[in-house]
Amino acid sequence: MIIRKEDLFLFFNRCISEKIDNYEEVLLPKKNNKQDEKQFSFTKYNSDENIEYDLESFRTIDPIKTLFYLSRENVSSTSLHSKKRIVAGIKACDLKALNILDKALINDDFVDPAYKKLRDNTLVISSDCNRITDSCHCNLVGGKPYSESNYDINLSKVNNNDYYYIVAGSKKGEKFLNTMKEHVAVNKAPQDVFSLVEENRKDILEKLEKQNKEYYHTENFYELKNSEEKLWIENSDACVGCGACTNICPTCYCFILNDETEAEKFVKVRSYDSCQYHGYARVAGDGSPRPKMHQRFRNRYLCKFSYFNSNFDTIGCVGCGRCIDACPAEIDFREVVKKSN
């Protein structure tokens, strides 16, 4: 099917104003600054014409986890509530991250109730990347700049942005698409549309491959073969242990749990923590398995490539490159992995 961009936004607008299917909120990547072509972040949609939303570029600055797994959250049962909402413009790297979080936070051992609530109440609309940024490297970790599954709805830009090729990928998505048809024009796609989408996808993938060519030197980019201490001391030489990389990583979900009082109740608040901090694994009596910076630095790589693999049967890096952009010491994740394998 295809939908005109105008109509899609019109429908979003009506979802909010008429609470269609009880959807109350739409979150979209917003251009933070008209001069800066590289900065987007998820923002509540409103129809103000001065605000530019961008579903077509590359991933936002803020990782998808910030919409589902909040940086600070009261997780005691009494406080859990959330609106039914639509998040659109999720890129393939973030969608992959969301699926890793699903494995980590909703499983046979436990269900994180706050995460599950937000997940259940959200319709996930992914969209193909039509641009890349310097740090993008999904192609190195088995990803592609477009989603092929795990979305409710996927959008691919066609014909210079005038309209989207739109597909449903779940029952929830199909239902949504049918509702959409009742309100705006959603038409059958002309025969050649999918080939245009494919061409576009191929073009972006080629750009990515070109950008990351120098890292393609082994079969598996992410196999950390060298665990020599000396190498990791070198790798972490510039690291200040600020934890920006883990905070901005869409698959890092380590948290600390704090207690607050609310009358007579026991209230638990979870907030992001970082394995890069010295206090992270320190126990009473001051014992710590990773007292040195290079040990903690190495832990992040081992966690992403080895521990995640054992725990969730997938590696923990989705190639979004945010850690590269966020690092004040300009440490390039790709470089470190390259040196270590």
Binding site: S77, F255, D259, F266, V283, A284, P289, R290, S310
Partner: protein, 273 residues
């Protein structure tokens, strides 16, 4: 859907000062909490925080729970300020305890040091409740000084039970304290016992340094890596494998442990730290 962060409130009904830094808190939860010996719970002080502790009472008791706690950090400092009648919260139990089914008809060696006697007390009491199922229990207990020994009164009673050999040692004897038992680190007690290490289980619990040398000593004595059970106490924030703080390589200390065989974790990093 059960909220894993929800606590069961409880009241402290007795506090026993075990040593200058260690107290046993006896708790009556609002509803009974069943656990398997060696599992742990998260004990909350309202508004302050919580920490992982292994109960020190028998797992055949569920309407009350004893937890022995050393004052050694932020949360435990606050726990030590608790008075009889105060409210606390409990989450859990979590993880895997000691596989006592495998201990049946065996000669069991338990090595515990300092506050590490707490989880082993739970194991010991649980075994004691069904002592007919086991061939013998050898308890090797260590403390820094005689005054640091916990469960002093109980130990006297336990020593009277058949099939039990309870040996104690201290690292040193300050001038103002008396001691007529062994002196030396806890591993020196192994020289004083005669047990066939073949197919028999051994358990170690104590401060990291003791766990390390205790494990090596048991290995030297002839226990196999599969038969050395370690109670790994890492930073277990959530208790059920979500927060990742207690990760030991591919394992979660909270979910896959806290009781591991040495065989399972011997190749993982920094297990003794």
């Amino acid at each position: 859907m059960k909220n894993p962060f929800e606590v069961i409130p409880g009241k402290i009904f007795e506090i026993i000062q075990e040593s200058p830094l260690i107290k046993t808190f006896r708790i009556r939860p609002e509803k009974p909490i069943s656990f398997k010996t060696g599992q742990f719970v998260e004990l909350s002080v309202p508004g302050i925080g919580e920490g992982p502790f292994t109960p020190s009472s028998s797992h055949f008791i569920s309407d009350t729970m004893d937890i022995t706690i050393m004052k050694t950090g932020f949360v435990t400092d606050h726990i030590h300020k608790i008075e009889v009648g105060d409210r606390v919260g409990i989450r859990g139990p979590y993880g895997h305890g000691y596989p006592i089914d495998k201990f049946k008809n065996k000669d069991i060696v338990i090595m515990g040091g300092g506050v590490g006697l707490a989880p082993t007390r739970s194991l010991f009491l649980t075994l004691l409740d069904e002592i007919d199922n086991y061939k013998s229990i050898t308890f090797l207990a260590g403390a820094k000084t005689p005054n640091d020994f916990i469960y002093k009164d109980a130990i006297c009673k336990w020593r009277e039970v058949d099939k039990i050999n309870f040996l104690r040692t201290v690292d040193s004897i300050p001038e103002d304290q008396k001691w007529n038992e062994n002196t030396g680190v806890v591993t020196t007690l192994l020289e004083k016992v005669k047990i066939d290490p073949k197919d028999n289980p051994s358990v170690v619990c104590g401060p990291p340094i003791m766990m390390k040398f205790g494990t090596f000593a048991l290995k030297d004595y002839g226990f196999t890596d599969e038969n050395i059970y370690l109670s790994m106490e890492k930073k277990m924030y959530c208790g059920f494998g979500e927060c990742r703080h207690c990760v030991i390589g591919k394992y979660y200390a909270c979910k896959d442990g806290p009781v591991f065989t040495y065989e399972m974790i011997k190749n993982e990093e920094a297990i003794w730290e």
